[in-house]
Amino acid sequence: MTMRGAAAIVGFAEMPTRRTYEGRTAMGLMAEASRDAMADARIRKEEIDGLIVEGGDFYPAAIGEYMGLNPNFVTGVSTMGASGATATSVAAMAIHSGLANNVLVTLSAPRETGMPWGSPPSPGMRTEFENPYGPAVAANTGYGLMYSRHMHEYGTTQEQLANIAVNQRYNALENENAVFRGQPLTVEDVLNSRYINYPIRLLESVMPCAGGAAIILTSADRADSFPNRPVYLLGAGIACDPLTGWARERLTRSVVTRSAPIALQMAGYGPSDIQFAQFYDCYTILHAVCLEDAGLVPKGEIGPFFAATDTTYKGSFPINTDGGQLSCGQPGDAGGFRHVVEATRQIMGRAGVRQVERNDLCMVNG
């Protein structure tokens, strides 16, 4: 039996994304978000018996200790930008398997962080076979390769994908948690922004930021006893492929080709049933490829889709209704967690001015 509907999110909290939280620590931000999420769910700290955090940078036990939690089930996930979505799935697994009843998931970053991509102190393939050739800053290089290849294979244009950044910015205009709130953006603005690495322009890239969030999951039999509308996890899929982008057989395909079908089959829905989507968006091109690979847009047709479709919260198919990472900023590995949080907010009907009308079924990608 799968974990379909076995667990639900019953509370959340999000720290506004900022350039930095001066004088604050990652654990402090996680503790604050967790406290507020517990208050949102009206659950007591003593009832939390599961804790999942980002495990590449933090020992989960240390985070539990910081906020005086003594959970039973505890683990860290380290799937980089997908850590938030992965942790949410693992929380449901823990509940479904009986290892925990009420699980807290929290991730944060206290200040802007650039990715130390193949930095000199870490010998390895990158320092031997990539760094002598001058990769671009942060994680841009692999996505630049993906972008040029997608343009070649499918005729995708930079103008088409600029709409991703523009539509998300519209969604962020009144989002008090977004770094770029109140700053409208046009396609011309995106196309006039400087190249970081062709074809990627500045406004097609995330800005490293600080922030954090927390959610509380509980079992289905308890979910209705909490004050918020429960957000049931109906299906999840996790997949992995080479970390090194250029080593992937097809540069224009992501692992979502494997993870989305698992999630959809578990949920018992098809791509056309999905009402709105919250998809990972470190760069416009990866966002585009993941939407294709999830089956929400036919492969290779993402360019025309974004040229013709209103994906704002007012549109026919809302995507990244809070502005996503492109407009809110990316607090490290906590960046991708915002897609889980915003899906939760929308399904609970608490998105305010940007509330989508059809808010029952969302697909989230990390």
């Binding site: 390895g124 990539e130 001058g134 800053v137 390769l145 190249y195 250029w246 080593a247």
Partner: protein
């Protein structure tokens, strides 16, 4: 008159630095001779890159360093305006590309001797060798 080469040189080592091994030495010895060699798995008869201590396709240890033609195509490229390492700033913009070698493996390098925005995906290229220091020779590619 030579100027000192200040950009990063290859730092060999295992994927996680566990072994500062020199099993990649044949690759760099070959570039010094202005030859390109790539690891070939004798078990499944295929080339692969980056170098590993066993074949990522069939996990065989029966490997050899085999000469390749140096010919290939630009599989994908990006033009770097903002390098990760500031020592490349004076070179920007330059082309950083994944080259699909005719023999099957894909390798990372620069495409040189062409204005960056004239590079296209699938463009045929051929290896050239730059003796950047007395110890190190980098393999780069130019339009064929």
């Amino acid at each position: 008159m030579t100027t000192e080469y200040t950009k990063p040189l290859p730092i060999p080592g295992g994927m996680y630095g566990a072994t500062r091994g020199d099993f990649t030495q044949p690759f760099w010895e070959a570039t010094k001779r202005h030859e390109l060699v790539i690891q070939r798995c004798r078990t499944h008869d295929g080339f692969f890159f980056y170098p590993r201590e066993l074949c990522p396709v069939c996990l065989s240890s029966d490997l050899e360093w085999a000469p390749v033609s140096g010919r290939g195509r630009v599989h994908a490229f990006t033009i770097v305006y903002q390098p990760n390492d500031p020592r490349f700033n004076d070179d920007a913009p330059y082309v950083y590309a994944a080259i699909q070698l005719d023999e099957g493996a894909r390798i990372i390098s620069n495409v040189i001797d062409i204005p960056p925005h004239d590079v296209t995906v699938d463009m045929p290229v051929v290896a050239v060798f730059e003796d950047v220091t007395p110890e190190w020779t980098l393999v780069k590619f130019r339009p064929a």
